[in-house]
Amino acid sequence: MSKITYREALNQAMCEEMKLDDRVFLMGEEVAEYNGAYKVSQGMLDKFGPKRVIDTPITELGFAGLGVGASMAGLRPIIEFMTWNFAILALDQIVNAAAKMKYMSGGQYSCPMVFRGAGGSAARVGAQHSQSLENWLANVPGLKVVMPSNPADAKGLLKAAIRDNDTVVFIENEINYGDVGEVPDHEYIIPLGVADVKRVGSDVTIVAHSRMTGFALAAAKILAEQGIEAEVIDPRTIRPLDENTILASVAKTHCAVVVEEGWRFAGIGAEISARIMERGFDDLDSPVIRVTGKDVPMPYAANLEALAVPSVADIVEAARVACGRA
């Protein structure tokens, strides 16, 4: 095992896959000469040259579509959005082209490609640069949506995403880029669509993805001090969702809390709690509780910003209510 950062893990994943497959290229704003706005692509231009690591103009819709066309023509593009906020400009190509191309063409064309970049709430950057949009994308059949919560998962999942024959939306977390974690030294892949039980517990199930997985683990530590053993599940892939792992946990704990940074309305938490209700209703002793970002645009002021996203304390409180020890 080696200790590396989340951004280094992503960099290793791309470098390893680009060495293995010369169809893979990385394209985006500032990915080459600037070494990445968040330094995820550090050193890749030197390793692979300007043919495969390509700086673009600021033109998200255009280069997203370039990736779609290139994937249809047999290449394996990795299209980096500096952040997912800017990918809103490219949604036509992601939602109306990449996601539907296989279906619309009766299986003739597919778009094996990765759209990746930073997502989630960031720090003090205001409403337009700080938001979680995974529920928009996970709503679309044809897309796979992946959100790693730590360096080891980030590497293994990104390698799987690059090898996948479908379009993968890979949402990294802006605040997690500098997080350090242990990553295996040998080559490994983490299959898409497989959740991970990050902490075993028997009293309450907490489902959380991306940055919220860390919050959930911190909450579980506090709960343990209070005599409550929480089981923390990170779905890792939002779509397709590994609901079996979640249901198995609920069958054991009989209660669940779902945590997400994004807005509450029609969010990922709504989807997961609906599925627990549909297929795990008889296992539940109490209603599923959602802990979500507040339904407001992200404010700038530090105190307001802190109020807008879930806190560890929010998760602790929700877990205590769910398992009847509030």
């Binding site: 290229f25 043919k51 673009t56 103009p57 033109t59 819709l61 255009g62 280069f63 997203a64 579509g65 370039l66 990736g67 779609v68 066309g69 290139a70 994937s71 249809m72 023509a73 047999g74 290449l75 593009p77 036509d92 190509q93 109306n96 082209a97 296989k102 279906y103 619309m104 063409s105 009766g106 299986g107 003739q108 064309y109 597919s110 094996p112 059949p141 044809g142 796979k144 996948d164 024959n165 479908d166 299959p191 898409l192 669509g193 497989v194 892939t237 397709p240 969702l241 590994d242 609901e243 079996n244 599925r275 549909e278 297929r279």
Partner: protein
């Protein structure tokens, strides 16, 4: 009937696509602006245009009978562009267009019964009945749609062009849009990158002068659309899209430019659609006289027929008989396609993912 001034009757040796001094030419054909078209190729071009015209009329008829549903955009009047583009390109070249796609995919040589079956939503449709009129694809013919969002195919074409440079495969991408599509921002994002990286792409604007019901003058500050590439240093060319020989000749120059590594070209094909924007459009925004002027004065099929008759390559009787035969053929295609079954219900769940994930909801669709 209007004839092009450079029309000539020449006997010449077969000389596909090239130029040669007139004195060496012996085979029957027409030399247009220095380019010799042998008789067989003229017939092929004519027959394809006429076939597309009659196919579209049949589609219109089946739409009227409510057998074809949804949106259905016909290309009557624009056949010379469809056929000229195909003739000027190699089968390995990539092509993609908007939703007005029947004529292009037919010109490309896709099985017409599969195209008709697609319109009818049948199992044997070219995309299994999942796409309909707007989403025709044929990977065997390098035809990448059939794209329903105006201008969407332009960044996609950029990607095909990028892949050709990446793989150095010598292919050119023909990326077709309309005079409506060219006002989309995605087009200029694509122009910029195509020119910046000198990608082998010919952008073709089918300027039929109306974006749905909005005339070119009401939608475009610069109505000379071939100039729209100037600020990206993309050379532009305006071509008569109602003259298949002229169109093909100039289109070849554009293809050569792109193939030689000089970067993209922008071609504006001046054309006209005889029908409304789609089947639900009565086209009240233009006068009957205007439509008639194009229809009877500049029709690409009548024009080529006149040229061929004048060159002694065919007779009016030949064309009359041929038209009857093609109408019969199209009727038979319509019947054969109508007789096909609808797609199996299981097709609802196929072609969504290449690599399904077994333990994950909702695929393979066990619970919903």
């Amino acid at each position: 009937m209007p004839c092009h001034s450079s029309l000539g009757i020449i006997r010449a040796k077969y000389n596909y696509g090239g130029t040669m001094p007139a004195k060496q030419k012996q085979e029957a054909g027409i030399t247009h602006d220095g380019l010799f078209y042998p008789e067989a190729r003229l017939h092929e071009m004519h027959d394809k245009m006429l076939f597309i015209r009659r196919f579209e009329e049949k589609a219109g008829q089946l739409y009227g009978l409510k057998k074809i549903g949804g949106f259905c955009h016909l290309c009557n009047g624009q056949e010379a562009v469809c056929v000229g583009l195909h003739q000027a390109s190699e089968t390995t070249d990539y092509m993609m267009t908007s939703y007005r796609d029947h004529g292009h995919i037919l010109a490309r040589g896709t099985d017409a019964t599969a195209v008709m079956a697609e319109l009818l939503g049948k199992a044997g449709g070219i995309v299994k009945g999942k796409g309909g009129s707007m989403h025709m694809f044929d990977i065997e013919k390098n035809f990448a749609g059939g794209n329903g969002i105006v201008g969407e195919q332009v960044p996609i074409g950029l990607g095909f062009g990028f892949s050709s440079r990446y793989k150095d495969d010598g292919r050119v991408t023909i990326c077709i849009m309309g005079d409506g599509g060219i006002n989309q921002g995605a087009v200029y994002e694509s122009f910029n990158m195509a020119a910046l990286w000198k990608l082998p792409i010919v952008f073709v604007v089918e300027n039929n002068q109306y974006a749905m019901g909005t005339s070119l003058e009401r939608a475009s500050a610069e109505t000379q659309l071939f100039k729209r590439g100037i600020s990206f240093k993309i050379p532009g060319m305006k071509i008569d899209g109602m003259d298949v020989l002229e169109f093909e000749k100039k289109m070849r120059e554009a293809m050569d430019h792109a193939r030689s590594g000089k970067g993209p070209m922008l071609v504006e094909a001046m054309t006209y659609r005889y029908r409304g924007h789609s089947m639900s459009d009565p086209a009240t925004y233009r006068t009957r006289a205007e439509v008639d002027e194009w229809r009877s004065g500049r029709d690409p099929i009548a024009r080529l027929q006149a040229q061929m008759i004048e060159a002694g390559l065919a007779t009016e009787e030949h064309f009359k008989q041929l038209d009857k035969d093609i109408k019969k053929e199209v009727a038979a295609i319509g019947k054969a396609a109508e007789a096909q079954p609808e797609p199996d219900a299981s097709e609802l769940w196929t072609d969504i993912y290449s690599d399904p994930i077994e333990n994950a909801y909702p695929y393979p669709g066990k619970v919903n």
